[in-house]
Symmetry: C2
Subunit: 217 residues, 2 copies
Amino acid sequence: MQIALALYRPFTALDLVGGYQVFSTWPDTEIVLVAETLEPIWDDRGAMAFTPTATFADVATPDVVMVPGSGRPFESLTDEALLTWLRTTAPTATWITSVCSGSGLLATAGLLEGRRATTHWAYREVLEQMGVDVVAERWVFDGNVVTGAGVTAGIDMALALTARQFGDHVAKVTQLALEYDPAPPFAGGTKETSEPAVVEAAYIAVAEATGIIPPNG
Amino acid sequence: MQIALALYRPFTALDLVGGYQVFSTWPDTEIVLVAETLEPIWDDRGAMAFTPTATFADVATPDVVMVPGSGRPFESLTDEALLTWLRTTAPTATWITSVCSGSGLLATAGLLEGRRATTHWAYREVLEQMGVDVVAERWVFDGNVVTGAGVTAGIDMALALTARQFGDHVAKVTQLALEYDPAPPFAGGTKETSEPAVVEAAYIAVAEATGIIPPNG
């Protein structure tokens, strides 16, 4: 089994590493960090560089594809090398997955037509405008496409996929090995569960970074 | 403010990146990945290399120190370059933090004497044998030392520290920006909350990888 995690400029580190850590427990599995070239790629915060271990040309038929999101999600929507690789690997992949705004890259590649999918809460309207049936869930299976919500949801998405692939017992053991018994310091954490003042402040912070226009302006 | 995330052979990627992603939202803050040299360091799964952005010699007085854990935690307990750096930076650091078995490195460096701390559930007995007052909590503050439980707990620990440093509102906004409204696929996720068969299987998996001997043999 080969799992290919797509890198591009500028992705979010935790989107990548949450899913990676879960997938790294899969038996008899090679994980490759794949990008257009082997040049190191800085994350969207600019403080951590990741080195691809294979190029798009090297990895033609991965069993699992995962594309992380980005704190500046519009910049990569014209990344033709990435989009072409997503399109060419999708027909033979067993699972096509994304985290956060990575679903916008799947949509732009034409892989979410007529599908239900999720994304970061602040990116839902953008994904809807791409013609996707967007749902506010932590992760969504639609056929062989599995999408996760924002950033940290890559952990949950990858655990859910582990259960689908290897059964509940294996996924529970993985969850325990990673001590994933989360205790967020606060209630909230997504748009529907956070206080209005927190949502407003987060929209302002996200809008400044990304250019996403909040639905209410 | 300078936050120094310590790299060593062989650390766990998500231990590092969970806390990193939270800290990356702190205002006016420089984050450095610090190690003995600038050589890339592979994580404990061997599939992802991280490049230090500074050496221990470059970073003498960070405001925050974070040391991740490892899937092979015994290998680094004799890493004198790392231990010396922890000892020399601790007296001037505002916060000294760890994730997972990283608390064993703090203990070995002499920084947990007489302190309450937490660690990965499978490493608790090891840390107790180091003379630490080990508690089964997701994160623990004791003075200026903040320890997190296994792997994924770095997210919770760093959010709790964000609240202590900047107040609850800022931490809630960060939690929402990272969409940290976790929905693990299964109940469980730590020793006390998992089914006995899952705990047994996880102990076997952890013991094979780490050499940790389960308390009941």
